[in-house]
Symmetry: C2
Subunit: 371 residues, 2 copies
């Protein structure tokens, strides 16, 4: 019987995630599995919690991974913190903030959006102004907008959210591991991320952290969380209970992979990992600009891990990506929404964030674009 | 830095799941990852759909895997098919049917339960009687009740559900792969399972199938599915759209593992796999009875993959399981709910369902129990 696994290409992943994975993480994924109620497995979960706290800059007890992808982490954060009718402000300057707003509406929040142009950062003053009415119970925004390559100044918005009585939710799907994150210092009440970008593990898990205030809201709801699978109250009995209470059968091998990926980050050092991301990014931008290409985002607001480059006039977007993938075995990303056909999204995340990968890509692009 | 992965035991998993995994599946899990929008990855997803249709006995177009564990599959099935206020009948004779009822209530269904004793199968006539009122829009039940080891006669309940105008939801978390499943012939509208039991892949995925009628209900709701991550309408655009539309970043390496596990089942043959489960089960029961132990469930209603054995009087439940795990590196399961302390749950699922594993367990039990 034909087995497609035998004919899959080895692809250099330089798109918006997943990123390329270190060999140690692959070995962890293929390790002999373990029961989800095994005491050795609980120790491993404790190790994951400890590493996540370091990477997230938090002492929150409720620091775990959701057993689903980043979108499940978004869902978990919202479904635990939104009660039907809750007024929520979502600051939107890209595709993933718009998704956050849509998901919140589905869960019964009364969502206002504050919109900024795609490709520009949000403006703190405007957000503070909207918050100051005190009308919102929740503020949601995206740290690193994967659709545009923009870094948003979330570090300034915790205090005004707190003053306005709003819980502050941050999407750190693309940023975590690659950008500084000080969840506690910045006043973040809930944060979710993913495994497959700067953390360096395949897709499938979503690290989250909830502050005491956020957990208090999740525990004090008038009706149970309308999502058994993602109920943080139940999840904490499994992750932190004494004794641990069964909730779902944890995807043990994915947890192995995440544990190993976080170990590698700790061994390299958080600041060294961020520096590697920055240097790869600078090397890429210099190379692209040397070919006469331009970046979508102005320099101070660029993400190191997600680079958006304008497609030169006359160049066929899809044809270039197809040749990169077919001939050079390199994946980059297309534009989303209004930016489709206008930009490429080049990810330098986790294990992919290396100058030699940048050189490989630049060489291939020079050939294809004849520049 | 200490790495816990290096000191984990190799455990023979004979509990209620996860089961032991074939080496081919471990290799697939550790394979170089691929982007979730890569055309080779889409081919692999098509292969998963085709294999799942075979294993489930269905031609349903909407046959996919949810990117979460079996509990996420339960959630996906319910959140797509329940609209607030929908009357639903859940037939309960164990822990997992009770979970089904709780989850449905959280989603706004008005749930009636029809209860049967734990350890006995449900009675078809009673269910038909309750359905005949025509009051229910949804009927939910569990095929193989993991908490008791009982096989329920789901094959008889599709037609009465249809006559009563109710969608028929089946939990096949423990049965799929190890027991015959003819979803279409039996009139099942929605079915969910998991990866880590008889399918032979680690935990993390939940295969589901939705009939045309079920998809029609999911598509025709008065409000969007209140769960973006598990919305079958969106998921089908990713799994079956032309072109495929991004929804979430699929956990590629888990999909590799599931694909490989399903390949192995097809290579061995569906009937041969079921026979292997039956034979391992018979071998276990003979061995246990030879030691003077008794099964909880009467012979005609026993599951081959989940064996519940009464703990002999005077034997310390936890001490025996602890010695099995610590000395013999074997995991078996404890009783749940009312059966805690009264039974052990011995799983013979997937790659674990082999006579040599049974012999290993029986040998260890004889030593510990001195029988």
């Amino acid at each position: 019987m034909a087995n497609l696994l035998e004919s899959l290409d080895d692809v250099l992943l330089l798109g918006p995630g997943p990123s390329t994975i270190p060999p140690e993480v692959y070995r962890a994924l293929g390790r002999r599995t373990l029961g989800h109620m095994d005491s050795q497995f609980f120790e491993l979960m404790d190790g994951i919690k400890e590493s996540l706290r370091l990477v997230m800059g938090t002492a929150n007890r409720a620091t775990i991974t959701i057993s689903g992808t980043g979108t499940a982490g978004m869902e978990a954060t919202l479904v635990n913190l939104i009660e039907a009718g809750d007024p929520m402000l979502v600051v939107v300057n890209g595709f993933f903030a718009a998704r956050l707003a849509e998901m919140a509406r589905r869960l019964g929040a009364v969502v206002d959006t504050l919109e900024f142009p795609w490709g520009k950062p949000i403006e703190t003053k405007e957000v503070e102004k909207r918050l100051s009415s005190g009308a919102y119970k929740i503020l949601g925004m995206v740290h690193a907008e994967t659709s545009t390559g923009v870094k948003n100044p979330i570090q300034d918005l915790g205090p005004p959210a707190r003053r306005a009585g709003a819980l502050f939710i941050v999407d750190a799907v693309t940023s975590l591991g690659g950008l500084e994150m000080r969840a506690d210092e910045w006043g973040i009440d809930a944060l979710y991320s993913c495994s497959q970008k700067c953390i360096g593990c395949p897709a499938g898990l979503s690290p989250v952290t909830f502050s005491e205030g956020a957990m208090k809201k999740a525990a004090g709801r008038s009706a149970p969380v309308p999502n058994y699978y993602l109920d943080m109250n139940l999840l904490m009995k499994y992750w932190d209970g004494s004794p641990r209470a069964y909730h779902h059968t944890a995807p043990a091998n994915m947890y192995f992979g995440l544990y190993q990926a976080l170990q590698l980050i700790r061994e390299e050092g958080l600041e060294a990992v961020r520096k590697r991301h920055r240097e790869a990014h600078e090397h890429l931008v210099a190379g692209l600009e040397g070919m006469g290409l331009s970046m979508l985002v102005e320099k101070p607001h660029r993400l190191p891990m997600l680079n958006t480059v304008l497609i030169p006039e006359g160049v066929d977007d899809a044809a270039v990506r197809k040749e990169l993938r077919a001939v050079h075995k390199i994946e980059i990303g297309s534009g989303l929404g209004a930016l489709a056909g206008k930009i490429w999204r080049i990810g330098l995340m986790g294990y992919s964030a290396k100058k030699e990968n940048v050189d490989t890509l630049l060489g291939a692009l020079r050939k294809i674009l004849r520049r």
